[in-house]
Symmetry: C2
Subunit: 168 residues, 2 copies
């Protein structure tokens, strides 16, 4: 298989995986493209590389930057902006997990809290069961959330230097 062909395949696969995980296809593809590009790429290069419009490119690159897994790179003497993806997959995964937790899990946890505030007669079986369900979801989510924090913190500190090299 030719190199370019392999890159192309990789980009497609990454796009599909993205969709399945609730990320839009193009965003995942741009990420893949940058991942396998030895050099930072300009908006125009991304556009022609993936055959997508300027607006689409701009929008999704910006979102990738929000996620902290793509950065803007300026080349001296060039007017254009270039973009490059974080190449360390472990770092990418940590950022994504951390960010999803912040954006999605935390708001839900808050919302759940309000739900426990129910007017119920003393012996109201149903209300009790409902509150139990909510409680158990909360307990689970907050444990998971702590687990993530732990992982991230580990990574940010010394652990990064040693054990985690195994993942690379």
């Amino acid at each position: 298989m030719k190199l370019d062909e392999a890159k192309q395949q990789f980009i497609q696969n990454w796009g599909v995986l993205g969709t399945q995980w609730g990320i839009n296809r193009t965003m995942a593809q741009i990420h893949a493209l940058l991942l396998v590009s030895p050099e930072p790429m300009s908006a125009d290069e991304i556009m022609s590389g993936l055959k997508i419009s300027r607006g689409n490119t701009n929008m999704n690159v910006r979102e990738l930057m929000d996620w902290g897994i793509v950065e803007k790179v300026l080349k001296p003497g060039e007017r254009k902006e270039f973009f490059s993806a974080e190449k360390d997959i472990w770092v990418v995964a940590m950022r994504i997990i951390k960010e999803r937790k912040r954006r999605e899990v935390e708001p839900i946890l808050n919302a759940l809290n309000q739900l426990k505030d129910i007017d119920a007669g003393k012996g109201d079986k149903d209300a009790k069961q409902f509150i139990d369900t909510i409680n158990s979801i909360q307990k689970f989510a907050s444990q998971a959330s702590k687990g993530v924090d732990g992982l991230v913190k580990m990574d940010e500190h010394w652990f990064a230097g040693t054990l985690l090299k195994m993942f690379k």
Copy 2:
């Protein structure tokens, strides 16, 4: 807040969370509805509870059963089928994680394997870098995958009885 109101809210929230994680809104809502229902529900009850069509109901209930987090329950002397959700959130989470791994992560890992098969000259820098990237993704994914297996196995065995009670 009234109990029904709270349930309603919960269902909506769960629907939103589902969308963000690549699960369709209705499926998540049906799951939520069953989660907070003290009794198993029939297709008709789900339809009227969520104001959705029969087809939609049938399709999504079936999918939830595929995921192993909802089951069909037959009541003696009733012609209808009833459905009930797994109430233990830890079990739900394990099933989902395990299933997503099987359906999504494993196929990608396979696909990646083929990509390393590249015709490259000996000193081909670019090809080398590409292969490195693919390798590191594979290594990461397979570690993560093993981690999941470990978690699941733990859960299936004795651990369930002890430490994991913390999550409930």
